[in-house]
Protein backbone atom coordinates (compact mmCIF):
# COMPACT_ATOMS: atom_id res chain seq x y z
CA UNK A 1 0.00 0.00 0.00
CA UNK A 2 1.25 3.45 -0.65
CA UNK A 3 2.13 5.40 2.46
CA UNK A 4 -0.30 8.13 1.40
CA UNK A 5 -3.24 5.82 1.90
CA UNK A 6 -1.84 4.62 5.17
CA UNK A 7 -1.35 8.18 6.35
CA UNK A 8 -4.90 9.01 5.48
CA UNK A 9 -6.04 5.90 7.29
CA UNK A 10 -3.99 6.96 10.26
CA UNK A 11 -5.56 10.40 10.25
CA UNK A 12 -9.00 8.85 10.12
CA UNK A 13 -8.21 6.47 12.93
CA UNK A 14 -6.89 9.23 15.11
CA UNK A 15 -9.84 11.36 14.20
CA UNK A 16 -12.09 8.61 15.47
CA UNK A 17 -10.16 8.52 18.71
CA UNK A 18 -10.29 12.26 19.15
CA UNK A 19 -13.98 12.08 18.41
CA UNK A 20 -14.47 9.66 21.24
CA UNK A 21 -12.75 12.05 23.57
CA UNK A 22 -15.13 14.79 22.50
CA UNK A 23 -18.06 12.45 22.86
CA UNK A 24 -17.16 11.80 26.48
CA UNK A 25 -17.74 15.43 27.23
CA UNK A 26 -20.79 15.72 25.02
CA UNK A 27 -22.38 12.82 26.84
CA UNK A 28 -22.67 14.85 30.00
CA UNK A 29 -24.52 17.58 28.16
CA UNK A 30 -26.87 15.10 26.54
CA UNK A 31 -27.79 13.45 29.82
CA UNK A 32 -28.81 16.65 31.48
CA UNK A 33 -30.57 18.02 28.44
CA UNK A 34 -32.48 14.85 27.90
CA UNK A 35 -33.60 14.68 31.46
CA UNK A 36 -34.53 18.24 32.12
CA UNK A 37 -34.26 20.27 28.97
CA UNK A 38 -31.40 22.18 30.55
CA UNK A 39 -28.46 23.14 28.44
CA UNK A 40 -25.84 22.77 31.11
CA UNK A 41 -23.17 25.34 30.52
CA UNK A 42 -21.35 24.18 33.65
CA UNK A 43 -20.52 20.75 32.24
CA UNK A 44 -16.96 21.74 31.34
CA UNK A 45 -16.35 23.26 34.72
CA UNK A 46 -17.78 20.16 36.32
CA UNK A 47 -15.21 18.07 34.48
CA UNK A 48 -12.47 20.36 35.73
CA UNK A 49 -13.83 20.33 39.24
CA UNK A 50 -14.08 16.54 39.30
CA UNK A 51 -10.55 16.14 38.03
CA UNK A 52 -9.21 18.64 40.55
CA UNK A 53 -11.02 16.91 43.33
CA UNK A 54 -9.69 13.58 42.24
CA UNK A 55 -6.11 14.80 42.21
CA UNK A 56 -6.59 16.69 45.44
CA UNK A 57 -7.98 13.67 47.24
CA UNK A 58 -5.41 11.36 45.80
CA UNK A 59 -2.53 13.54 46.89
CA UNK A 60 -4.02 14.45 50.21
CA UNK A 61 -4.21 18.15 49.52
CA UNK A 62 -5.84 20.23 52.21
CA UNK A 63 -8.91 21.87 50.69
CA UNK A 64 -9.00 25.67 50.84
CA UNK A 65 -5.43 25.68 52.06
CA UNK A 66 -4.67 29.00 50.37
CA UNK A 67 -7.61 30.64 52.00
CA UNK A 68 -6.89 29.13 55.39
CA UNK A 69 -3.26 30.06 55.19
CA UNK A 70 -4.07 33.57 54.13
CA UNK A 71 -6.57 34.10 56.89
CA UNK A 72 -4.90 32.31 59.77
CA UNK A 73 -1.31 32.58 58.71
CA UNK A 74 -0.89 28.82 58.90
CA UNK A 75 1.20 26.71 56.57
CA UNK A 76 -1.16 23.89 55.67
CA UNK A 77 -0.71 22.08 52.41
CA UNK A 78 -1.02 18.36 52.59
CA UNK A 79 -2.45 15.73 54.84
CA UNK A 80 0.47 13.59 53.87
CA UNK A 81 -1.30 10.63 52.37
CA UNK A 82 -1.37 9.27 48.88
CA UNK A 83 -4.44 7.22 48.16
CA UNK A 84 -4.74 4.48 45.59
CA UNK A 85 -6.47 5.66 42.42
CA UNK A 86 -9.56 3.60 42.91
CA UNK A 87 -10.24 4.95 46.39
CA UNK A 88 -9.75 8.48 45.16
CA UNK A 89 -12.13 7.86 42.29
CA UNK A 90 -14.79 6.51 44.61
CA UNK A 91 -14.42 9.45 46.94
CA UNK A 92 -14.70 11.80 43.99
CA UNK A 93 -17.91 10.10 42.97
CA UNK A 94 -19.22 10.78 46.45
CA UNK A 95 -18.27 14.42 46.12
CA UNK A 96 -20.04 14.66 42.78
CA UNK A 97 -23.16 13.15 44.28
CA UNK A 98 -23.13 15.67 47.07
CA UNK A 99 -22.66 18.32 44.46
CA UNK A 100 -25.69 17.08 42.52
CA UNK A 101 -27.83 17.16 45.62
CA UNK A 102 -26.74 20.68 46.44
CA UNK A 103 -27.41 21.90 42.92
CA UNK A 104 -30.92 20.56 43.11
CA UNK A 105 -31.55 21.97 46.57
CA UNK A 106 -30.15 25.39 46.01
CA UNK A 107 -30.80 26.09 42.39
CA UNK A 108 -33.01 23.86 40.31
CA UNK A 109 -35.74 23.40 42.86
CA UNK A 110 -36.50 27.07 42.66
CA UNK A 111 -36.60 27.17 38.91
CA UNK A 112 -39.21 24.57 38.08
CA UNK A 113 -41.22 25.30 34.97
CA UNK A 114 -39.01 28.13 33.77
CA UNK A 115 -38.03 28.66 30.18
CA UNK A 116 -34.96 26.83 28.90
CA UNK A 117 -32.97 30.00 28.51
CA UNK A 118 -33.46 30.89 32.15
CA UNK A 119 -32.27 27.47 33.23
CA UNK A 120 -29.34 27.86 30.89
CA UNK A 121 -28.50 31.13 32.56
CA UNK A 122 -28.68 29.49 35.96
CA UNK A 123 -26.12 26.94 34.89
CA UNK A 124 -23.92 29.80 33.80
CA UNK A 125 -24.16 31.21 37.29
CA UNK A 126 -23.29 27.80 38.53
CA UNK A 127 -20.28 27.63 36.24
CA UNK A 128 -19.00 30.95 37.51
CA UNK A 129 -19.48 29.86 41.05
CA UNK A 130 -17.76 26.53 40.61
CA UNK A 131 -14.87 28.05 38.75
CA UNK A 132 -14.09 30.26 41.71
CA UNK A 133 -14.95 27.59 44.21
CA UNK A 134 -12.80 24.91 42.62
CA UNK A 135 -9.78 27.17 42.43
CA UNK A 136 -10.26 28.34 45.95
CA UNK A 137 -10.56 24.80 47.16
CA UNK A 138 -7.71 23.18 45.32
CA UNK A 139 -5.55 26.01 44.01
CA UNK A 140 -5.06 26.98 40.42
CA UNK A 141 -1.70 25.44 39.69
CA UNK A 142 -1.32 22.69 37.11
CA UNK A 143 -1.71 19.29 38.68
CA UNK A 144 -0.54 15.96 37.41
CA UNK A 145 -3.28 13.41 37.20
CA UNK A 146 -2.16 9.82 37.27
CA UNK A 147 -4.64 7.07 37.86
CA UNK A 148 -2.53 4.50 36.11
CA UNK A 149 -3.96 4.79 32.61
CA UNK A 150 -1.57 3.78 29.87
CA UNK A 151 -0.20 6.52 27.66
CA UNK A 152 1.87 6.81 24.55
CA UNK A 153 1.86 5.08 21.20
CA UNK A 154 0.62 1.58 20.93
CA UNK A 155 3.76 -0.21 19.83
CA UNK A 156 1.94 -3.39 19.00
CA UNK A 157 -0.12 -1.63 16.37
CA UNK A 158 2.91 0.16 15.05
CA UNK A 159 4.82 -3.06 14.59
CA UNK A 160 1.88 -4.80 13.11
CA UNK A 161 1.26 -2.18 10.48
CA UNK A 162 4.78 -1.17 9.65
CA UNK A 163 5.04 -3.79 6.98
CA UNK A 164 1.94 -2.64 5.15
CA UNK A 165 3.62 0.10 3.23
CA UNK A 166 5.21 -0.53 -0.12
CA UNK A 167 8.82 -1.59 0.04
CA UNK A 168 11.35 1.14 0.37
CA UNK A 169 9.03 3.86 1.53
CA UNK A 170 9.71 5.40 4.89
CA UNK A 171 6.83 4.26 7.01
CA UNK A 172 6.87 3.83 10.74
CA UNK A 173 3.64 2.02 11.29
CA UNK A 174 0.34 3.33 12.36
CA UNK A 175 0.07 5.50 15.40
CA UNK A 176 -2.62 5.35 18.03
CA UNK A 177 -2.44 6.66 21.54
CA UNK A 178 -3.16 4.04 24.17
CA UNK A 179 -4.97 6.56 26.32
CA UNK A 180 -7.34 7.18 23.45
CA UNK A 181 -8.04 3.50 23.13
CA UNK A 182 -8.93 3.28 26.79
CA UNK A 183 -11.14 6.31 26.39
CA UNK A 184 -12.88 4.69 23.46
CA UNK A 185 -13.64 1.57 25.46
CA UNK A 186 -14.91 3.57 28.40
CA UNK A 187 -17.03 5.75 26.18
CA UNK A 188 -18.61 2.83 24.42
CA UNK A 189 -19.41 1.15 27.70
CA UNK A 190 -20.94 4.36 29.02
CA UNK A 191 -23.01 4.93 25.94
CA UNK A 192 -24.41 1.43 25.96
CA UNK A 193 -25.35 1.46 29.62
CA UNK A 194 -26.85 4.90 29.52
CA UNK A 195 -28.83 4.21 26.35
CA UNK A 196 -30.28 1.07 27.85
CA UNK A 197 -31.08 2.93 31.03
CA UNK A 198 -32.91 5.74 29.35
CA UNK A 199 -34.69 3.63 26.79
CA UNK A 200 -35.89 0.72 28.81
CA UNK A 201 -36.48 1.76 32.37
CA UNK A 202 -39.32 3.56 34.02
CA UNK A 203 -36.92 6.19 35.27
CA UNK A 204 -35.63 6.61 31.76
CA UNK A 205 -39.11 7.36 30.51
CA UNK A 206 -39.65 9.75 33.38
CA UNK A 207 -36.47 11.57 32.42
CA UNK A 208 -37.76 12.22 28.97
CA UNK A 209 -41.13 13.29 30.29
CA UNK A 210 -39.55 15.84 32.60
CA UNK A 211 -37.62 17.34 29.73
CA UNK A 212 -40.84 17.91 27.79
CA UNK A 213 -43.05 19.49 30.41
CA UNK A 214 -42.15 20.09 34.02
CA UNK A 215 -45.66 20.74 35.17
CA UNK A 216 -47.23 17.80 33.49
CA UNK A 217 -44.50 15.60 34.89
CA UNK A 218 -45.29 16.86 38.36
CA UNK A 219 -48.95 16.29 37.80
CA UNK A 220 -48.48 12.59 37.11
CA UNK A 221 -46.39 12.19 40.18
CA UNK A 222 -42.88 12.24 38.80
CA UNK A 223 -40.60 13.75 41.37
CA UNK A 224 -38.65 16.39 39.55
CA UNK A 225 -36.26 16.65 42.41
CA UNK A 226 -35.38 13.01 42.41
CA UNK A 227 -34.98 12.92 38.65
CA UNK A 228 -32.77 15.93 38.73
CA UNK A 229 -30.55 14.57 41.43
CA UNK A 230 -30.18 11.33 39.53
CA UNK A 231 -29.25 12.99 36.27
CA UNK A 232 -26.89 15.44 37.81
CA UNK A 233 -25.20 12.59 39.62
CA UNK A 234 -24.75 10.67 36.41
CA UNK A 235 -23.63 13.78 34.61
CA UNK A 236 -21.18 14.44 37.42
CA UNK A 237 -19.69 10.99 37.06
CA UNK A 238 -19.51 11.35 33.30
CA UNK A 239 -17.81 14.69 33.82
CA UNK A 240 -15.32 12.99 36.07
CA UNK A 241 -14.55 10.39 33.43
CA UNK A 242 -14.03 13.12 30.85
CA UNK A 243 -11.92 15.07 33.31
CA UNK A 244 -9.73 12.06 34.00
CA UNK A 245 -9.19 11.31 30.33
CA UNK A 246 -8.38 14.86 29.33
CA UNK A 247 -6.53 15.56 32.53
CA UNK A 248 -4.21 12.61 31.99
CA UNK A 249 -3.23 14.18 28.73
CA UNK A 250 -2.63 17.78 29.64
CA UNK A 251 -2.49 17.93 33.38
CA UNK A 252 -5.39 19.27 35.40
CA UNK A 253 -5.70 22.98 34.90
CA UNK A 254 -8.17 25.68 34.11
CA UNK A 255 -8.19 25.00 30.39
CA UNK A 256 -9.84 21.69 31.06
CA UNK A 257 -13.11 23.54 31.39
CA UNK A 258 -12.76 24.73 27.82
CA UNK A 259 -13.11 21.24 26.40
CA UNK A 260 -16.80 21.95 26.56
CA UNK A 261 -16.26 24.00 23.44
CA UNK A 262 -15.07 20.94 21.61
CA UNK A 263 -18.11 19.03 22.74
CA UNK A 264 -20.70 21.53 21.55
CA UNK A 265 -20.47 20.86 17.83
CA UNK A 266 -20.61 17.17 18.62
CA UNK A 267 -23.71 17.83 20.60
CA UNK A 268 -25.64 19.62 17.89
CA UNK A 269 -24.49 17.25 15.22
CA UNK A 270 -25.56 14.18 17.14
CA UNK A 271 -28.67 15.82 18.54
CA UNK A 272 -29.15 17.26 22.00
CA UNK A 273 -31.25 14.37 23.16
CA UNK A 274 -29.50 11.33 21.80
CA UNK A 275 -26.94 9.35 23.74
CA UNK A 276 -25.74 7.33 20.77
CA UNK A 277 -25.83 10.59 18.84
CA UNK A 278 -23.12 11.94 21.09
CA UNK A 279 -20.72 9.24 20.13
CA UNK A 280 -21.57 9.17 16.47
CA UNK A 281 -21.46 12.94 16.29
CA UNK A 282 -18.11 12.78 18.03
CA UNK A 283 -16.74 10.34 15.50
CA UNK A 284 -17.94 12.38 12.54
CA UNK A 285 -16.53 15.59 13.95
CA UNK A 286 -13.27 13.93 14.94
CA UNK A 287 -12.67 12.42 11.53
CA UNK A 288 -13.99 15.47 9.69
CA UNK A 289 -11.81 18.00 11.38
CA UNK A 290 -8.69 15.88 11.27
CA UNK A 291 -9.13 15.07 7.62
CA UNK A 292 -9.84 18.70 6.79
CA UNK A 293 -6.81 19.87 8.68
CA UNK A 294 -4.73 17.19 7.00
CA UNK A 295 -5.89 17.77 3.46
CA UNK A 296 -7.15 21.35 3.16
CA UNK A 297 -5.57 22.88 6.25
CA UNK A 298 -2.09 23.41 4.83
CA UNK A 299 -3.54 25.34 1.89
CA UNK A 300 -5.41 27.88 3.95
CA UNK A 301 -2.96 28.28 6.77
CA UNK A 302 -4.00 25.60 9.20
CA UNK A 303 -5.44 25.77 12.68
CA UNK A 304 -8.86 25.16 11.21
CA UNK A 305 -10.04 22.69 13.79
CA UNK A 306 -11.80 25.13 16.05
CA UNK A 307 -14.21 26.42 13.47
CA UNK A 308 -14.35 23.50 11.15
CA UNK A 309 -16.21 21.38 13.64
CA UNK A 310 -18.87 24.05 13.94
CA UNK A 311 -19.17 24.61 10.24
CA UNK A 312 -19.48 20.88 9.68
CA UNK A 313 -22.20 20.66 12.30
CA UNK A 314 -23.93 23.67 10.80
CA UNK A 315 -23.93 22.00 7.45
CA UNK A 316 -25.59 18.89 8.81
CA UNK A 317 -28.11 20.93 10.73
CA UNK A 318 -29.32 22.70 7.65
CA UNK A 319 -30.56 19.34 6.46
CA UNK A 320 -31.58 17.98 9.83
CA UNK A 321 -32.34 20.80 12.24
CA UNK A 322 -32.58 18.42 15.17
CA UNK A 323 -29.17 16.89 14.56
CA UNK A 324 -28.65 13.37 13.31
CA UNK A 325 -30.38 11.55 16.12
CA UNK A 326 -32.08 14.22 18.16
CA UNK A 327 -35.77 14.21 18.95
CA UNK A 328 -37.84 15.69 16.18
CA UNK A 329 -38.60 19.35 16.60
CA UNK A 330 -42.36 19.27 16.64
CA UNK A 331 -43.95 22.00 14.61
CA UNK A 332 -47.70 22.02 14.84
CA UNK A 333 -50.49 24.44 15.25
Amino acid sequence: MSPEILYTAEVILNGLMAGVMYALVALGFVLIFKASGIFNYAQGVMALFAAMTLVGIQNGQVPFSHLINAVFGTQLHHFGWHLPAIVAILLTVVVMIIFAILVERLVLKHLVNQEPIILFMATIGLAYFMEGFGDLMWGSEIKVLDVGLPKGASLALEEYTVGWATEGSQYYGMYVDKLDMVAALVAIALVITLSLFSQYTKTGRALRAVADDHQAALSVGISLRKIWVITWCIAGVVAMVAGVMWGSKSGVQFSLSLIALKALPVLILGGFTSIPGAIIGGLIIGVGEKLFEYSIGPMIGGATENWFAYVLALFFLVFRPQGLFGDKIIERV
Binding site: Q215, A216, S219, K328, I330, R332
Partner: protein, 282 residues
Protein backbone atom coordinates in the same frame (compact mmCIF):
# COMPACT_ATOMS: atom_id res chain seq x y z
CA UNK B 1 -71.82 38.82 48.65
CA UNK B 2 -71.98 37.80 52.24
CA UNK B 3 -75.04 35.75 51.67
CA UNK B 4 -73.20 33.82 49.04
CA UNK B 5 -70.32 33.10 51.35
CA UNK B 6 -72.53 31.94 54.14
CA UNK B 7 -74.64 29.71 51.96
CA UNK B 8 -71.53 28.01 50.74
CA UNK B 9 -70.41 27.17 54.23
CA UNK B 10 -73.77 26.02 55.36
CA UNK B 11 -74.28 23.86 52.37
CA UNK B 12 -71.38 21.47 52.83
CA UNK B 13 -73.09 18.11 52.59
CA UNK B 14 -73.24 16.38 55.87
CA UNK B 15 -74.25 12.95 54.77
CA UNK B 16 -70.91 11.78 53.34
CA UNK B 17 -67.51 12.06 54.94
CA UNK B 18 -65.52 14.87 53.34
CA UNK B 19 -62.54 13.49 51.48
CA UNK B 20 -61.08 16.76 50.37
CA UNK B 21 -61.72 20.04 52.06
CA UNK B 22 -60.67 23.45 50.90
CA UNK B 23 -61.08 26.10 53.53
CA UNK B 24 -61.18 29.69 52.57
CA UNK B 25 -58.04 29.81 50.47
CA UNK B 26 -56.51 32.84 48.91
CA UNK B 27 -54.09 32.63 46.00
CA UNK B 28 -51.68 35.25 44.78
CA UNK B 29 -49.70 35.06 41.57
CA UNK B 30 -46.41 36.80 41.15
CA UNK B 31 -46.70 38.50 44.52
CA UNK B 32 -49.28 40.95 43.23
CA UNK B 33 -52.18 39.35 41.43
CA UNK B 34 -54.83 38.19 43.86
CA UNK B 35 -56.87 35.53 42.11
CA UNK B 36 -58.73 33.50 44.69
CA UNK B 37 -60.36 35.50 47.39
CA UNK B 38 -61.43 32.95 49.90
CA UNK B 39 -62.68 29.80 48.24
CA UNK B 40 -64.08 26.96 50.30
CA UNK B 41 -65.35 23.70 49.01
CA UNK B 42 -65.53 20.11 49.94
CA UNK B 43 -65.51 16.89 48.00
CA UNK B 44 -67.24 14.01 49.67
CA UNK B 45 -65.85 10.53 49.52
CA UNK B 46 -67.15 8.82 46.44
CA UNK B 47 -68.77 11.92 45.05
CA UNK B 48 -68.58 13.84 41.83
CA UNK B 49 -68.26 17.52 42.52
CA UNK B 50 -68.23 20.16 39.84
CA UNK B 51 -66.76 23.64 39.87
CA UNK B 52 -68.47 25.87 37.37
CA UNK B 53 -67.78 29.39 36.39
CA UNK B 54 -66.90 31.69 33.58
CA UNK B 55 -63.52 32.45 32.11
CA UNK B 56 -61.01 33.53 34.64
CA UNK B 57 -63.21 32.70 37.54
CA UNK B 58 -60.40 30.75 39.12
CA UNK B 59 -61.36 27.15 38.52
CA UNK B 60 -58.00 26.10 37.25
CA UNK B 61 -56.29 27.97 40.00
CA UNK B 62 -58.34 26.18 42.61
CA UNK B 63 -57.47 22.79 41.20
CA UNK B 64 -53.81 23.67 40.99
CA UNK B 65 -53.86 24.91 44.53
CA UNK B 66 -55.15 21.53 45.62
CA UNK B 67 -52.62 19.54 43.64
CA UNK B 68 -49.80 21.86 44.65
CA UNK B 69 -48.86 22.84 41.15
CA UNK B 70 -49.14 26.55 41.79
CA UNK B 71 -45.65 26.78 43.07
CA UNK B 72 -44.23 26.23 39.61
CA UNK B 73 -46.31 29.10 38.24
CA UNK B 74 -45.10 31.51 40.84
CA UNK B 75 -48.40 31.37 42.65
CA UNK B 76 -48.84 30.84 46.37
CA UNK B 77 -51.67 30.00 48.69
CA UNK B 78 -51.52 32.77 51.23
CA UNK B 79 -54.46 31.95 53.40
CA UNK B 80 -56.65 29.05 54.29
CA UNK B 81 -55.99 25.36 54.37
CA UNK B 82 -56.51 22.29 52.26
CA UNK B 83 -57.22 18.98 53.92
CA UNK B 84 -57.23 15.55 52.39
CA UNK B 85 -58.66 12.84 54.59
CA UNK B 86 -58.37 15.27 57.42
CA UNK B 87 -54.66 15.96 57.07
CA UNK B 88 -53.27 19.17 55.63
CA UNK B 89 -51.71 18.70 52.23
CA UNK B 90 -50.60 22.24 51.52
CA UNK B 91 -47.00 21.41 52.08
CA UNK B 92 -46.88 18.11 50.25
CA UNK B 93 -45.05 17.79 46.99
CA UNK B 94 -47.19 17.00 43.96
CA UNK B 95 -45.75 13.54 43.72
CA UNK B 96 -46.50 12.76 47.32
CA UNK B 97 -50.04 13.74 46.57
CA UNK B 98 -50.16 11.41 43.60
CA UNK B 99 -48.90 8.65 45.83
CA UNK B 100 -51.83 9.33 48.11
CA UNK B 101 -54.12 8.90 45.19
CA UNK B 102 -54.89 12.45 44.10
CA UNK B 103 -54.10 13.18 40.49
CA UNK B 104 -54.87 16.09 38.24
CA UNK B 105 -55.65 16.21 34.57
CA UNK B 106 -54.39 19.57 33.51
CA UNK B 107 -56.23 22.02 31.38
CA UNK B 108 -54.86 22.44 27.90
CA UNK B 109 -53.69 18.83 27.52
CA UNK B 110 -50.03 19.01 28.50
CA UNK B 111 -48.93 15.80 26.88
CA UNK B 112 -45.27 14.94 26.62
CA UNK B 113 -44.75 15.87 23.01
CA UNK B 114 -41.69 13.79 22.33
CA UNK B 115 -43.05 10.62 23.87
CA UNK B 116 -45.32 8.29 22.01
CA UNK B 117 -48.93 8.07 23.09
CA UNK B 118 -48.23 4.78 24.81
CA UNK B 119 -45.22 6.13 26.66
CA UNK B 120 -47.31 9.09 27.68
CA UNK B 121 -49.90 6.79 29.15
CA UNK B 122 -47.25 4.75 30.91
CA UNK B 123 -45.77 7.77 32.64
CA UNK B 124 -49.07 7.88 34.47
CA UNK B 125 -48.12 4.63 36.11
CA UNK B 126 -44.87 6.07 37.39
CA UNK B 127 -45.84 5.95 41.03
CA UNK B 128 -47.49 2.57 40.90
CA UNK B 129 -45.96 -0.32 42.71
CA UNK B 130 -48.42 -3.06 41.91
CA UNK B 131 -46.57 -4.78 39.14
CA UNK B 132 -46.47 -4.76 35.38
CA UNK B 133 -49.47 -6.96 34.89
CA UNK B 134 -51.80 -4.57 36.65
CA UNK B 135 -50.46 -1.66 34.63
CA UNK B 136 -50.94 -3.62 31.47
CA UNK B 137 -54.52 -4.38 32.39
CA UNK B 138 -55.28 -0.75 33.03
CA UNK B 139 -53.61 0.23 29.80
CA UNK B 140 -55.97 -2.07 27.99
CA UNK B 141 -58.84 -0.47 29.86
CA UNK B 142 -57.78 2.98 28.69
CA UNK B 143 -57.49 1.76 25.14
CA UNK B 144 -60.97 0.39 25.40
CA UNK B 145 -62.28 3.72 26.58
CA UNK B 146 -60.47 5.53 23.80
CA UNK B 147 -60.00 3.23 20.80
CA UNK B 148 -58.61 6.16 18.87
CA UNK B 149 -55.57 6.08 21.13
CA UNK B 150 -54.92 2.48 20.31
CA UNK B 151 -54.65 3.42 16.64
CA UNK B 152 -52.24 6.20 17.35
CA UNK B 153 -50.30 4.29 20.00
CA UNK B 154 -46.95 4.67 18.33
CA UNK B 155 -47.17 8.29 17.22
CA UNK B 156 -45.48 11.07 19.08
CA UNK B 157 -48.05 12.88 21.15
CA UNK B 158 -46.95 16.18 19.69
CA UNK B 159 -48.28 15.16 16.32
CA UNK B 160 -51.69 14.00 17.37
CA UNK B 161 -54.86 16.01 17.05
CA UNK B 162 -56.19 18.18 19.82
CA UNK B 163 -58.83 15.69 20.83
CA UNK B 164 -56.43 12.80 20.80
CA UNK B 165 -54.17 14.71 23.15
CA UNK B 166 -57.07 15.36 25.45
CA UNK B 167 -57.85 11.66 25.57
CA UNK B 168 -54.23 10.93 26.20
CA UNK B 169 -54.12 13.30 29.15
CA UNK B 170 -57.18 11.74 30.71
CA UNK B 171 -55.98 8.22 30.04
CA UNK B 172 -52.65 9.04 31.61
CA UNK B 173 -54.32 10.06 34.83
CA UNK B 174 -56.42 6.92 34.88
CA UNK B 175 -53.31 4.79 34.70
CA UNK B 176 -52.21 6.14 38.05
CA UNK B 177 -55.06 4.14 39.51
CA UNK B 178 -56.12 7.10 41.60
CA UNK B 179 -58.58 7.52 44.38
CA UNK B 180 -59.46 11.10 43.53
CA UNK B 181 -59.21 12.74 40.16
CA UNK B 182 -59.15 16.47 39.59
CA UNK B 183 -60.40 16.97 36.07
CA UNK B 184 -59.86 20.33 34.46
CA UNK B 185 -62.14 20.84 31.48
CA UNK B 186 -62.22 17.26 30.26
CA UNK B 187 -64.71 18.01 27.53
CA UNK B 188 -62.72 20.72 25.88
CA UNK B 189 -62.18 20.03 22.22
CA UNK B 190 -63.83 16.66 22.20
CA UNK B 191 -66.55 15.55 19.89
CA UNK B 192 -69.98 15.47 21.56
CA UNK B 193 -70.25 11.71 21.46
CA UNK B 194 -66.95 11.39 23.15
CA UNK B 195 -67.88 13.89 25.79
CA UNK B 196 -70.86 11.76 26.66
CA UNK B 197 -68.63 8.73 26.77
CA UNK B 198 -66.10 10.37 29.01
CA UNK B 199 -68.76 11.37 31.45
CA UNK B 200 -70.22 7.90 31.29
CA UNK B 201 -66.78 6.61 32.17
CA UNK B 202 -66.52 9.07 34.99
CA UNK B 203 -69.78 7.83 36.32
CA UNK B 204 -68.73 4.22 35.94
CA UNK B 205 -65.41 4.75 37.72
CA UNK B 206 -67.22 6.60 40.40
CA UNK B 207 -69.83 3.99 40.93
CA UNK B 208 -67.84 0.85 40.39
CA UNK B 209 -64.38 1.74 41.61
CA UNK B 210 -65.38 4.41 44.08
CA UNK B 211 -63.19 7.07 42.55
CA UNK B 212 -64.05 10.59 43.68
CA UNK B 213 -64.03 13.42 41.18
CA UNK B 214 -63.61 17.14 41.34
CA UNK B 215 -64.18 18.60 37.93
CA UNK B 216 -63.92 22.05 36.55
CA UNK B 217 -66.18 22.43 33.55
CA UNK B 218 -67.48 24.98 31.16
CA UNK B 219 -69.95 22.61 29.72
CA UNK B 220 -72.37 23.21 32.56
CA UNK B 221 -75.08 21.23 30.99
CA UNK B 222 -73.35 17.94 31.03
CA UNK B 223 -71.42 18.63 34.19
CA UNK B 224 -74.58 19.14 36.16
CA UNK B 225 -76.09 16.08 34.60
CA UNK B 226 -73.37 13.85 36.04
CA UNK B 227 -72.19 15.68 39.14
CA UNK B 228 -73.74 15.28 42.54
CA UNK B 229 -72.85 18.64 43.83
CA UNK B 230 -71.72 21.88 42.27
CA UNK B 231 -70.02 25.13 43.14
CA UNK B 232 -70.22 28.23 41.06
CA UNK B 233 -67.15 30.38 41.09
CA UNK B 234 -67.06 33.94 40.00
CA UNK B 235 -64.07 36.30 40.21
CA UNK B 236 -62.32 34.12 42.70
CA UNK B 237 -65.25 33.61 45.03
CA UNK B 238 -67.82 30.92 45.47
CA UNK B 239 -71.09 32.61 44.68
CA UNK B 240 -73.43 29.71 44.81
CA UNK B 241 -73.40 26.06 45.59
CA UNK B 242 -75.79 23.26 45.97
CA UNK B 243 -76.81 19.84 44.84
CA UNK B 244 -76.61 19.48 41.10
CA UNK B 245 -80.29 19.07 40.72
CA UNK B 246 -80.98 22.27 42.65
CA UNK B 247 -78.53 24.18 40.55
CA UNK B 248 -80.07 22.85 37.38
CA UNK B 249 -83.36 24.29 38.41
CA UNK B 250 -82.04 27.64 39.54
CA UNK B 251 -83.28 30.35 37.23
CA UNK B 252 -80.00 32.23 37.10
CA UNK B 253 -78.03 29.15 36.36
CA UNK B 254 -80.47 28.29 33.67
CA UNK B 255 -80.18 31.68 32.13
CA UNK B 256 -76.45 32.08 32.23
CA UNK B 257 -74.93 28.65 32.32
CA UNK B 258 -77.37 26.43 30.54
CA UNK B 259 -78.52 28.78 27.85
CA UNK B 260 -82.15 28.07 28.52
CA UNK B 261 -84.50 30.96 28.93
CA UNK B 262 -88.15 30.80 29.69
CA UNK B 263 -88.13 27.09 29.44
CA UNK B 264 -86.90 26.90 25.84
CA UNK B 265 -83.46 26.61 24.43
CA UNK B 266 -82.25 29.75 22.76
CA UNK B 267 -80.79 29.81 19.34
CA UNK B 268 -77.25 31.04 19.04
CA UNK B 269 -78.24 32.90 15.95
CA UNK B 270 -80.72 35.00 17.79
CA UNK B 271 -78.86 36.16 20.83
CA UNK B 272 -79.16 39.85 21.27
CA UNK B 273 -76.27 42.16 20.78
CA UNK B 274 -74.19 42.89 23.80
CA UNK B 275 -76.39 41.16 26.23
CA UNK B 276 -74.53 41.49 29.45
CA UNK B 277 -74.85 39.16 32.29
CA UNK B 278 -76.18 40.21 35.60
CA UNK B 279 -73.35 39.70 38.02
CA UNK B 280 -73.73 38.42 41.48
CA UNK B 281 -70.95 40.65 42.55
CA UNK B 282 -69.25 43.59 41.21
Amino acid sequence: MNTAATTSEAAVPEQAEALLEVNNIEVIYNHVILVLKGVSLSVPMGGITAILGGNGAGKTTTLKAISNLLHSERGVVTKGSILYRGTPIDSLSPEALVKRGVIQVMEGRHCFEHLTIEDNLLTGAYTRRDGKAAVKRDLEMVYNYFPRLRDRRKSLAGYTSGGEQQMCAIGRALLANPETILLDEPSMGLAPQLVEEIFENVKRLNEQEGVSFLLAEQNTNIALRYAHYGYILESGRVVMDGAASELRDNADVKEFYLGVSEGAKRSFRNVKHYKRRKRWLS
